[in-house]
């Protein structure tokens, strides 16, 4: 599903290579400034790689950014509608899709509200709901659990487990080793922009390779 070869970006990422099969979950781990977010941005086309190449077989994918980059004056429903339009989702099925994703993250009664009325946990759930629109086969999640309170963290973890069980390929970054161990099939460790490990979760656990 994803193949990355010798990918570099400015002085932030240096020769990153990995591959990920369909339905698998990859955890990208590393300290702050290791290049996790930049790697996501390059793969998502927000930044252009300086050298190297990558291929993603899916054209429709979801993305959950590290912070709630949302227009706070917009309502949750309007936000989801714009994204459904952008994935060319049939008009007559949009309402049921909005209800489906909102229900999945427990925000079905908040659709009319503007984001400025949402708590941090609700904003994070909105982003996850947005990423689930149209049931994509691949979702990128940049630090999906950072800054959340324990109950929101558990809920987010639950959504990710559900997605994983549904065969969705996930790429997420995290600082928390316990989340990585619970969700990931494969691990990519970055340190100051360099790849220090890529392999299965079992190998990573055996090797005890810290970010």
């Amino acid at each position: 599903m994803i193949g990355v070869k010798d990918l570099s970006y400015s002085s932030i990422l240096d020769s990153i290579s990995f591959s990920l099969d369909e339905g698998k979950t990859l955890a990208v781990i590393g300290h702050n400034g290791a290049g996790k977010t930049t790697l996501f941005h390059v793969l998502l086309g927000l930044k252009f790689a300086t050298t190297g190449e990558f291929e993603i077989s899916e054209t429709k994918y979801g993305f959950v950014p590290e912070r709630p980059y949302l227009a706070m004056e917009e309502s949750f429903r309007a936000f989801l509608t714009v994204h459904l339009n952008l994935i060319s989702f049939p008009k007559n099925e949009q309402e049921s899709e909005i209800q489906r994703v909102a229900q999945q993250v427990g925000l079905q009664d908040e659709l009319h509200k503007k984001f400025k009325q949402f708590s941090k946990g609700m904003l994070q759930k909105s982003l996850i709901a947005q990423a689930m629109l149209g049931s994509p086969k691949l979702i990128f999640l940049d630090e999906p659990m950072s800054g959340l309170d324990p109950s929101s963290r558990e809920e987010t973890k639950k959504y990710l487990e559900q997605l994983k069980a549904g065969g969705v390929t996930l790429i997420f970054s995290s600082h928390v080793m316990e989340d990585v161990a619970a969700l990931a099939d494969q691990v990519l460790v970055l340190n100051q922009g360099k790849q220090t490990f890529f392999g299965s979760i079992q190998d990573w656990k055996r090797g005890g390779i810290a970010p």
């Binding site: 998502l44 086309g45 927000l46 979801g62 980059y69």
Partner: protein, 253 residues
């Protein structure tokens, strides 16, 4: 324009409708139009022409302010606040996104302009004035000028802060409306300078769009001259849009 550009355009238009600052410009202009009406009452004779003259200037200033205000801020703000990320990770090309944003902003500026022109037209008719062909031509050319300013502001907003974009575009307006004066300076051997050549080459000749005298005397442009002015405006518009799109398409966000 493809389907996705149309969706982005519609989203842009709706987002701009939420921006209260634009409505403030709108309100102030209507207030000025009212003052124009009051001023025309003080004039003996063709009061409608005074109203038309003042009204058109105010209308043009309003639409330029709106075009520069949204062009200098909207996309830049999206990039700075990173709200653009989620849109661009959808299967939409940057060119389609850029085009959609521009069309949405243009539509909003058009709505603003049409409403103000209708109010001005109603005021002129109520004062027993005549809505001449020259008035219509002038309105269209003013709007084309506003679109050029919008596209220019959008382009410069990738490098400059809104206040600086505003200043650069103000320079464009001043130089553009004084092309003939610059050309006459260049024609004079005593004042000739390569700077004048550069200034006329790098700024649109907005004096082609200036029709206030013609409107006042109801002298419409010939179809040929009007078409030429429109085509000239479109060339500058596409130049700014193509350049803006090229910069945006290669920008690391």
């Amino acid at each position: 324009m493809n389907y996705l550009s149309a969706r982005i355009a519609s989203h842009t238009f709706k987002s701009l409708l939420r921006e209260k600052i634009i409505f403030n410009v709108f309100g102030v202009t209507i207030l000025f139009l009212f003052f124009g009406y009051l001023a025309s009452l003080l004039v003996y004779g063709r009061q409608d022409r005074v109203m038309m003259d003042m009204g058109q200037v105010l209308n043009a200033l309003s639409i330029f302010a709106v075009a520069l205000g949204i062009g200098a801020r909207f996309l830049r703000q999206e990039i700075e606040s990173k709200t653009i990320y989620l849109y661009l990770t959808r299967p939409i090309s940057r060119s389609s996104f850029f085009l959609g944003r521009f069309i949405g902003m243009s539509s909003f500026a058009a709505l603003n302009f049409v409403i103000l022109t209708l109010i001005l037209s109603a005021a002129i008719v109520l004062m027993n004035g005549n809505l001449s062909t020259a008035f219509l031509q002038s309105s269209i050319l003013t709007f084309v000028e506003a679109l050029i300013l919008l596209a220019g502001a959008l382009l410069f907003s990738f490098w400059l802060r809104p206040a600086l974009v505003f200043m650069v575009m103000l320079a464009f307006i001043i130089l553009g409306h004084n092309h003939q004066m610059i050309q006459s300076l260049q024609a004079n051997p005593e004042t000739q300078s390569p700077v004048f050549v550069g200034l006329t080459a790098l700024t649109p000749n907005f004096s082609l769009f200036l029709m206030s005298d013609r409107v006042y005397y109801e002298q419409a442009l010939s179809a040929h001259d009007f078409t030429n002015a429109l085509l000239y405006g479109c060339v500058w518009l596409f130049f700014f849009l193509l350049l803006g799109n090229a910069v945006f398409s290669r920008k690391n966000l």
